[in-house]
Amino acid sequence: MTEAVQSRHTLESATIRFAGDSGDGMQLTGTQFTNTSATLGNDISTFPDFPAEIRAPAGTVPGVSGFQIRFASEDIHTPGDRPDVLVAMNPAALKANIADLVPGGLLIVNEDAFGKSNLKKAEYGDVNPLEDGSLDTFRVVRIPLSTQTEQAVAEAGLNKKAAERCKNFYALGLVYYLYDRPMEQSMAWIERKFAKNAQIQDANKMALRAGYNYADTAEIFADTYQVPKARLASGTYRGITGNQALAMGLVAAAQIADKPLMYGSYPITPASDILHELARLRHYGVRTFQAEDEIAAIGATIGAAYGGAFAATGTSGPGICLKSEAMGLAVMTELPLVIVNVQRAGPSTGMPTKTEQSDLLQVMYGRNGDSPMAVVAPATPGECFTMAIEAFRIAVKYMTPVVILSDGYLANGAEPWKIPNLDQLPQIEVSHDIDPATFQPYSRNEQTLARPWAVPGQPGLEHRIGGLEKDDIKGNVSYDPDNHQKMTDLRAAKIAGIADDVPPLEIIGNADADTLVLSWGGTYGSILTAVNQFNNDGGNIAAAHFRYLNPFPANTAEVLAKYRRILVCELNNGQLDLLIRARFARETNSFLKVKGKPFQVSELLAFFKEHQA
């Protein structure tokens, strides 16, 4: 027992990381904390970070699973660079995460897990980091979490192993107390989740309460905190991950257009959750198709688009490799479909659970022939919703495949999402109203250059399409040299023309600075935070964030021309950078990171500083 008088400090924002073995339930703990904080009205941003192995050897560093959450009373855009509080359930979790904890940060460890064997598995050797003074710069709270959990849940009558497994809820209870959060929501969740197993239900509830009460009565924390409500726009909110948002966006797009949604996919991290979300929605008329591979997934998707459905396929980089030939066919046959690429670290199998933005050039150019395709990239988890609708809008208006470049960070990260009113959703118009008397499969809308979407079943419109070059207007197979030139130009012009139909590139930060930061897709939150902070600290910098990568917004050249210096920041080895240099003939400096992790605000600030002489 300490004698310190507890006092609640009010914070604008706090960052916690829960870390433990893959089997310790850290993702669940983090999600519970997130939901409770969201309901309290905080702005939130999360970053789950888990190993690729379902169960790497227990107790080892590769088996560590982490969940970081930042919650705030202000508007936030990133899950925080470094946690203020680290919960480490075992030595491996400590080892993998301690370098990130802010100096003076609070470290909560499960003392029980620091036995010889676990220390060895975490490659600490004979030295117990809890004893050797290496943690002196932190406020360390050692708790025999396993023992105390077992005691707390004894009444539920579980065996020792099952009882010990409740320790994540015990830890959650501690942290709930630390940040003054109510337990009701998690209690209710436990009741629902374990409705069929009263014993486990009771035990988890006991653990949660015991953790909370222990923190309270034993006064283990010298300081406790509160993070008041954020000033979010009024409305009804829910938490949402990028994958959930994307799935809902696809469903919404189809419903807006009064079309059935078909989603063809082959399981792959980190895109599988989109398939899982959609497979549950048969009552929304969603037809999911788990294909035998990614080629079949896109093949079926193109087939469904040809059949008149709103059709989408989703995968990650390695799956895009397999889809490439069929993507070319979709370009040639000018059919509307949406191709989702939830990017992960590559090349090859790479690091499946880690984020990266290194498939930009792949989706732009990774096909045989001149094969242009629209490419969009949502900037936040919530924007995955709007971009899914936008992708379908473009696809059917221009009769083209559209790629959505999401990434592992957006896919699994969560944020509060203001539930839209149905009448605020964009409209998507689809027409199959074609006069058989004048129908030509490759005639074009003058404005959009789209060809008609004639669907099997429509009398009088019988026609043949395929991957062989088609003659202009009639759509018969053609090897005519001038025709191929013309069709290649038309396909390019059609995609280029989309530029006038998308929002202009916006400037954020100090528009009249002489340095412009360029970024795209999932890095928006860190870029925005860094730019604002840089300018608040007396810097002077502007930024523009791309959500449309092919074509670039119409005003892109104009925006770039305003700035003397261009800095490109992206999570790859220089792909947007290459496009900017090639398209706009501009020298750039770039900050390129491929560590499987999002940008930290601090590293962006350092980069800005270095280049703003």
């Binding site: 979010l232 409305g235 919404a252 929304y284 059949g307």
Partner: protein, 337 residues
């Protein structure tokens, strides 16, 4: 609106010039299909021909129906998606021995086991025609081609056995030298609910000329083929009749004499639940056996698109037709005022 009743063979030929080599077996198959279409009573606009890549896969361009010439080997995937989007279409998939069994072997396997209500016609010329004559997965061991000058060292795959192993619900074989047999077989395939798989022996006159003559030439046809007829014993031969018997687990061919007990002959029954009999038949290859043609197996099995639609209906009955506002609000929500 096209009236199916008044359609003729001519209504099904497109304005495109057919570009197969003169004498190619594909012509006869095209004619047989165009002749079959009016008999099906399906409006033209509801018929779609989907193909992969190969000489055979040019087929859709010559049909005055909807048509999709896709990419090499992947036609089954496109057909699957099309049936998901519109289960009412009559979908015909045209593939070759290379398209269907080499690059597309995987997709063919899954199409057959999923049992979409489609018709798959595999033009087996035992060669890669379009790429000018390399050996294919159905070429015989020792086959000399430009890519196998010393002879292929590979064991060929038997398409019928592949289809049976893939749980196909309808498996048949026909041949380009017999328009009547083709027409009958296509009609049976069309009538079957579920995936119908038809292997067609097809003569590539340029790169594998007369590959099937030993089997189907008029002079030897009656000796070297068995035309499977429901309820009829398995017998080949014109003057001397050869019957098929089971000895232990092996089919054997023996001449029928006066002593032969007819009840010991194998009698054709394509509707057996067990696939064992169909596999016996499929294993009968030239020259050891007369080669069976006709329907090897036809069984009833739920088809994919119907099962999928049933799930949609069940889900809607149970949970009501999904509304976007409910989807958005699923899970925990909170309000900010």
């Amino acid at each position: 609106m096209t009236k199916s009743a008044t359609l003729t063979k001519k209504d099904f030929s497109s304005d495109q010039t057919v570009r197969w080599c003169p004498g190619c077996g594909d012509y006869a198959i095209l004619a047989a299909i165009q002749g079959t279409m009016p008999k099906l009573g399906i409006p033209k606009e509801n018929i779609v021909f989907v193909s992969g890549i190969g000489c055979s896969s040019r087929f859709p361009y010559y049909m005055e129906t909807y048509g999709f010439h896709t990419i090499h080997g992947r036609a089954p995937a496109f057909a699957a998606g099309l049936k998901i989007a519109n289960p009412d279409l009559s979908v015909w998939l045209i593939t070759g021995d290379g398209d269907g069994l080499s690059i597309g072997g995987n997709h063919l396997l899954h199409a057959l086991r999923r049992n979409f209500d489609i018709n798959i016609l595999l033009f087996n010329n035992r060669i890669y025609g379009l790429t000018k004559g390399q050996y294919s997965p159905t070429s015989e061991t020792g086959k000399q081609t430009k890519s196998s000058p010393m002879g292929s060292v590979e064991q060929p795959v038997n398409p019928i056995r592949f289809a049976l192993a893939s749980e196909a619900s309808f498996v048949a074989r026909t041949y380009d030298a017999n328009p009547k047999h083709m027409a009958e077989t296509f009609e049976k395939a069309a009538a079957h609910k579920g995936t119908s798989f038809v292997e067609i022996f097809q003569n590539c006159v340029i790169f594998n000329k007369d590959a099937f003559d030993d089997v189907y030439d008029r002079k030897v046809r009656e000796e070297n083929m068995i035309h499977l007829e429901e309820g009829e014993p398995l017998v080949a031969g014109k003057d001397v009749k050869q019957g098929v018997f089971l000895e232990g687990l092996t089919p054997v061919v023996r001449e029928l004499t006066e002593e032969t007990d007819p009840s010991t002959l194998l009698v054709h029954d394509s509707r057996q639940k067990s696939p064992i009999y169909a596999n016996f038949l499929a294993a009968m290859e030239h020259p050891e056996f007369p080669v069976p043609v006709g329907v090897f197996r036809q069984i009833e099995r739920p088809c994919y698109e119907e099962a999928l639609e049933a799930q949609v209906r069940t889900a809607q009955e149970k949970a009501g037709v999904g509304k976007l506002e409910d989807l958005f609000k699923a899970g925990e929500t909170w309000s900010v005022t």
